[in-house]
Symmetry: C2
Subunit: 410 residues, 2 copies
């Protein structure tokens, strides 16, 4: 029998009624001939409540203990989920990450999965159980409980699908699927039927926020097709998969905007080998996560280095730069906090001319000034004034017809 992994996010299991509804869905799949593995998140706002409990006791709690605390949220959901299955006459069994040997490294609160034991799960599936696994959590080699970071249940689910050789993983959530852009800013945005792993990775790293990046990496590596869909209806959602022929014609799949950014400009840095490495390794040591980097030569001796960071990392970044600027002879440091980054993502742009022009022209027509530009193989990003951000996103979406299904675009 084929194995199907279904992941239910916190909003899909927020109360007894929703847990029953989710359990019903798992039971239907079981009746349709699948061996069903469910991965569940903590109920509703429970993780936030547990974090608040911890903060009240210790504003700087040790990470190992944080993992011990937060992992209880998912453990509660999976036991309640199994009970709901029994209430409908279907046997089910719940497991913690530790119980199924979801082995991770020991980086508490941000652990990475190393291996998954499947023997126990397969045995229970073969005995006719629905197996309900606590998402988000694992165990290190010493038996300490670890967690995978916020949104980590997606990764648990796709990694389990990969380990079990399942070719499908359903991610049930409170949205219909992945949209071409944020519908709160561009109400004409449409749901994508499918998107490639690479594009989804770019969208996720640009803050599109629907999926945990690691889960998409697992999907790509192990050929697991991920179906992001609503837990409230039976509509098809969005398939995240390898590129397929019919996607060839699509130039741009989606667009994003990031507003919580700051741009740091290091002016007049000595233009000699190793200086960029020195700067960015120092930032990494300070645990600053750097987004885009632009370096330009201003003279044979001097270069300007620009990069963006999330605003939450700005203080740490400033301090790290102050510590290092002397040693790279940086003449000036400028920080802009009033920027937004508008990006388009699409596998199509790899092999097509004219995509960049079209974006720049759209912004020019909307009278929006571009501060700086960066590109990757499947992405073009423009930094603009934050007050122009929404207008810029709308202009770009209109230019690439992101209000239409992919096959109706010109």
């Amino acid at each position: 029998m084929p194995i199907l992994v279904q992941k239910f996010g916190g909003t899909s299991v927020a109360n007894a009624e929703k847990i029953h509804r989710a359990a019903k869905r798992a039971i239907e799949a079981h009746k349709n001939g699948y061996q069903v593995v469910v991965v569940a998140s903590a109920r509703g706002k429970q993780t936030d409540e547990l974090i608040a409990d911890a903060m009240e006791i210790n504003p700087n709690p040790p990470k190992r203990e944080m993992d011990m605390l937060l992992s209880t949220g998912e453990q509660q959901t999976v036991s309640l989920f199994a009970m709901a299955c029994y209430a409908m006459g279907q046997k089910a069994i719940s497991f913690t990450g530790s119980q199924i040997s979801m082995l991770t490294d020991d980086t508490h609160t941000k652990a990475r999965i190393q291996s998954i034991g499947t023997e126990k799960i397969r045995k229970k599936l073969d005995e006719g159980y629905i197996v309900v696994v606590a998402g988000f959590q694992g165990v290190d080699a010493e038996g300490n409980i670890t967690t995978l970071g916020r949104g980590g249940s997606d990764t648990s689910a796709v990694a389990l699908a990969a380990a079990l050789g399942a070719s499908f993983c359903e991610i049930y959530t409170d949205v219909d699927g992945i949209y071409t852009t944020d519908p709160r800013i561009y109400p004409k945005a449409v749901k994508m039927e499918q998107i490639s792993y690479d594009e989804m990775l770019e969208l996720a790293s640009l803050g599109a926020g629907v999926m945990h990046s690691r889960s998409i990496e697992f999907g790509k590596k192990y050929n697991v097709t991920i179906h992001v869909r609503s837990s409230m209806n039976n509509n098809p959602g969005t398939l995240i998969t390898h590129e397929v022929p019919k996607m060839e014609g699509i130039l741009v799949s989606g667009a994003t905007i990031q507003k919580e950014l700051a741009k740091i400009s290091l002016i007049g840095v000595d233009n000699k080998p190793g200086n960029a490495a020195k700067i960015f390794s120092h930032l990494a040591k300070a645990r600053v996560s750097v987004n885009d980097i632009i370096q330009t030569e201003v003279s044979p001796e001097k270069a300007n280095i620009l990069f963006t960071v999330n605003k939450s990392d700005l203080d740490a970044a400033r301090q790290a730069i102050e510590e290092i600027r002397e040693s790279v002879h940086c003449q000036n440091v400028f920080v802009r906090e009033d920027v937004a980054e508008v990006s388009i993502v699409g596998v199509g742009m790899r092999s097509h001319y004219g995509v960049a022009d079209r974006m720049f022209q759209a912004l020019a027509d909307a009278k929006i000034n571009i501060d700086s530009i960066t590109t990757s193989e499947i992405r073009i990003s423009c930094l603009v004034n934050v007050e122009d951000g929404d207008k810029a996103l709308i202009a770009v979406c209109d230019a690439f017809q992101l209000d239409r299904p992919a096959n109706q675009r010109k």
Copy 2:
């Protein structure tokens, strides 16, 4: 360094402030030269809330899943407790029952401890940590989470003390210690300085309710002195220990009353070998827990068999008796639900005459009719009309001077 086990009940860790206070106490003991192992229960009413969550989803939840659910309560407390220690500059580490190999049988919701791994705990104690262990929970040989039944954290604590060779286990609770009787009925009741394991076992089985019976059995078996005391002050509480010389003179240590009882009388049962066994094994199969049993011969051929059960078991008991009564030729079955049992407990009564008289005389003086009497080596119980119950308890307490410290009684 000597090891001290401190157990904090749900009311002693109900909120952040109380967790801090409990952690402070553990840190003090650590500074006083002890290696400290803390055992903690779920916070406040949390276990009740989780049970309510389960009942909403499935009124008859599978016990394995119940254990999976309820064990999260203690796991949350221990991680928060460790965080509180860190907030005061003391390193601490929390463990689930599973992580320290608190091995039990697989009787979910009422599991019995089989063995405890101490290596991990000793290692962390030697490294200077306070070790915080989740009470109430264990793990079976298959890795399933089990729980020890309500109040099981006491047993976790005393069993850990035994396994670690600690001679002391402190039980912190919301009362000052063990009282000679229930102060709600007999306000002059006084706190006992000490009580023997056997007496405490009788009191616990008579519903005195302060301690889980299994924990006292462990204490007795492994020579762990149990100190029941308040988490709100530093007053000495009650020591539960082996009999010590100065206790010799005490005839009666405490008195109890049980009101949630029913008495079942089987009249005219065939008086032949095996009939009593037949009746009580049938009741056991129906999971009816029988308290006292009295059998009296009424003729060479016939006997009456009387026994008491908790009211919660009455329906099951009635049904079991209906099934069996034909086969033992029982002529009549009477049930009384309007009874209460007043008991006195004391090691002293073993070797002293006059204790029983004094009890019966006290009841007679108070004009209370005795329905039936049972005795054990350290206990005398009288069944009375439930409306006379409180008056009977007060009369007995006065007769044995349970309003005075033990050494001031005559």
